[in-house]
C-alpha cells in the first residue's frame, strides 16, 4: 500500500513537471506585443560556436544596442549537429545564421524560411594544401585526397572540381574532415577545407607560414557560394516585422563597429566564451571584417543582399547537385525589404 502511494506521488510530480515544461516551451515563441516598457525576447541561432565569425552580434549585445532597440537577445551557439534551419523552423530560435546554399536546399524542400540579410559578402572557403604536395592549380587535385566537412559544405569543392574537368567520384578521393586541421598536418589528406578566418588561422598558429601552404580560393576560382546570411521563419516575420527591423538595425550597427575595429570586437567575443584563445579570436575578427566589408565595399551596405551573388549561389547549387530543381528566388525566399527598412529609418 505504502509503495503504491509513493509511485502515485512520483507520477503526480512527473505530471506537474511535464505541465510546467510544456507551458514554458509554449510561452517562449510568443514574442508578439508585450508591454512596450518590457524588452521583447528574441533568440538568434548561430551556425557555429561563439567566435568572431559572429562578432557583430556579440558587439551589439555587449554595447547594449539590442536593449536600446527594446530587444532582449539570446544568442544560441551552434555545433556540428545543430542545424539552424531546423531550429528556426521549429521555433527554438526566431532568427538564424546559416549558409545561403544550405538555406536554399531547405527552401526547395518546402521549409517556410526566408533570407532577410547577407552578412558575408564573400566566400571564405579555401582548399589548403602543403606547398610540398605540389597542388598549385585546381587541376593538380587529380588523384588527391580532399577533406570536406560535408553536410552541405562540400558543394563549393564539387563545383571547383567539375569546373576543372575532374570527376568527384573517380578522379579524387573525398574524405570527411573533422574540425581540426590534424588530418592535413599529419599528411592523411592532401588538401583540406579551411575557412579564411578559422582553420587557416589554426594552420598558421600550428607554426606553418603562408609560404608553406598553397591555397585555392573559391572566389578566385569562380565557384564562390554565399555563406553567413540571416534568415527567419516566414510565419514569424509576418507577425514580427517591426521587431525584426529593430534587430537588424542594431545588428548592422554592431557589425559596422566590429569591422571598423576588429581587434576590439575580437576581445569582446573572447570575453563571452573564452573560446580557443584571444589571439585566435583577434585573427578571426580581422579576417571576418574582410568578408563583411570587402575592399571597395561601402560600409553603409553592410548586411545587404547582392542579387547577382545569390543567383550565382543558386546556379552553382543547381549545377553541382545540391538542388534538384532551380531555386525560386522571389520576395518569399530572399528579401531586401527589411534591410532597406533598417537602413533608411
Amino acid at each position: 500500500m505504502k509503495k503504491s502511494k509513493f509511485t502515485s506521488l512520483v507520477a503526480v510530480i512527473m505530471l506537474i513537471l511535464l505541465a510546467a515544461t510544456g507551458c514554458s516551451s509554449a510561452a517562449t515563441p510568443d514574442t508578439t506585443k508585450t508591454t512596450p516598457a518590457k524588452l521583447e525576447k528574441v533568440t538568434l541561432q548561430l551556425k557555429w560556436l561563439p567566435q568572431s565569425q559572429f562578432m557583430g552580434y556579440y558587439l551589439a549585445q555587449a554595447k547594449g544596442y539590442y536593449k536600446d532597440a527594446g530587444i532582449d537577445l539570446e544568442i544560441l551557439p551552434g555545433g556540428s549537429d545543430i542545424i539552424p534551419e531546423q531550429q528556426v523552423y521549429n521555433g527554438v530560435a526566431n532568427i538564424g545564421v546559416t549558409w545561403v546554399s544550405s538555406l536554399m536546399k531547405y527552401q526547395s524542400k518546402g521549409w517556410g524560411l526566408v533570407q532577410t540579410g547577407q552578412i558575408f559578402q564573400k566566400s571564405a572557403m579555401l582548399l589548403v594544401s602543403k606547398a610540398s604536395s605540389g597542388i598549385n592549380t585546381p587541376a593538380d587535385l587529380k588523384g588527391k585526397k580532399i577533406g570536406s566537412w560535408f553536410g552541405g559544405n562540400e558543394f563549393e569543392i564539387y563545383a571547383l572540381l567539375e569546373k576543372n574537368a575532374l570527376k568527384k567520384d573517380t578522379d579524387v578521393k573525398l574524405v570527411q574532415q573533422d574540425y581540426t586541421m590534424n588530418q592535413l598536418l599529419k599528411g592523411e589528406i592532401d588538401a583540406a577545407s579551411a575557412m579564411t578566418y578559422n582553420e587557416y588561422g589554426l594552420l598558421l598558429e600550428s607554426g606553418l607560414k603562408d609560404s608553406d601552404l598553397h591555397v585555392i580560393n573559391m572566389n578566385d576560382a569562380g565557384v564562390a557560394m554565399l555563406e553567413d546570411c540571416l534568415f527567419v521563419n516566414s510565419d514569424w516575420i509576418s507577425k514580427n516585422q517591426d521587431l525584426y527591423v529593430r534587430f537588424m538595425k542594431a545588428s548592422i550597427k554592431g557589425w559596422a563597429e566590429a569591422c571598423a575595429d576588429p581587434a576590439a570586437a575580437g576581445k569582446i567575443v573572447f570575453d563571452v566564451d573564452k573560446s580557443v584563445s584571444l589571439d585566435h579570436q583577434l585573427y578571426m575578427a580581422k579576417e571576418v571584417a574582410k568578408l563583411v566589408v570587402p575592399t571597395g565595399f561601402d560600409p553603409a551596405n553592410i548586411g545587404s543582399i547582392d542579387p547577382a551573388a545569390v543567383k550565382q549561389t543558386a546556379d552553382l547549387a543547381l549545377k553541382y547537385g545540391l538542388l534538384t530543381k532551380a531555386a525560386v528566388i522571389s520576395e518569399d525566399t530572399v528579401t531586401s525589404k527589411y534591410w532597406k527598412l533598417a537602413t533608411t529609418k
Partner: protein, 255 residues
Amino acid sequence: MINKVKNFLWPLAFGVALIMAWQFGLFHKILKLKPFQLPVPTEIASTLAANLPKALTDCGVTISGALIGLIIGSLLGFMIAAIATFFPKWGYGGMIVVTALNAVPIVALSPIMNLWFSTGMQQKIGVVTVVCMAAMALNAYSGLNNLNPYSIDLMHSVAANKWTIFTKLRLPNSLPHLFTATKINIASSIIAAIISEYFAASTAGLGFGIKDNLRKAEMAMGWSYIVVASLAGVILYCIILLVERDALKWHASQK
C-alpha cells in the same frame, strides 16, 4: 495451427496500422510536423528504390565492419572469460577491466579511435570490438562457471583434467550464454558501427549517410538509410536465431 496464425496476424495488423497512421498523417498531427520534416512511408520507399545500389553499398560497408568487429570482439571476450575460468586467481582481473571498458560510451570512443586509426574501416572495427567484448566476456564467464551441481564433482571423481572439464562440461554448458551474448552484440555492433561512422574520415556507410542527409534536408534519403539499417539488423538477428535453434536442439529452452 490457428494459434500460430493468430500469433503472426496480430503483430502484422499492428504494424500495418502503424504504417497507415504514419502514411496518412496521424503522427504529423500529433507531433505537429510537416511532411518535409517527417517523410511518409511511400516517399521513403520510393527514395530508397531510386537509390538502392548506393544504399546497399553503404549497408555493406557498415555491416562488414560491424561483423568483423563482432567476431574479433566476441573472440577476445570469450578468451578473457576462458582465462578467468582456468586461472581464477589472477585471470578474473581481465573480467573487471572488460566490464570497466563496457562503461565507456561509444560516442566518446569513436573520436578517440579516429585518432588512432587512419581509415574509417579500422576505426569502425576498433569501436565495435571494444563494444562487443564485455557482453561476450560476462555471458561466457557465467556459462563456463554456473554448472549443474555435482557435475563438476562427477568430472573430478572420474579424474578428468582441467581441459577435459572445459571441453566436455563447461563449453557445452556455456553455449546458450554465448548465443545470448551474440544476440545482444548483433544489435550493439550495428549501433556502434553507425555511430562510429558519424565521426570517421570515410564518406561511405550508413552512419555517414544518415547524418549527412539529415543535415542537408534530404529527410527521405536519411530515413531510407535508417530503414536499411533496421532491416539489416533484423535479418542478422534472425540468422542468429536460426543458428541457435539448430545448435541448441538438445537444450531445454528449445523444446
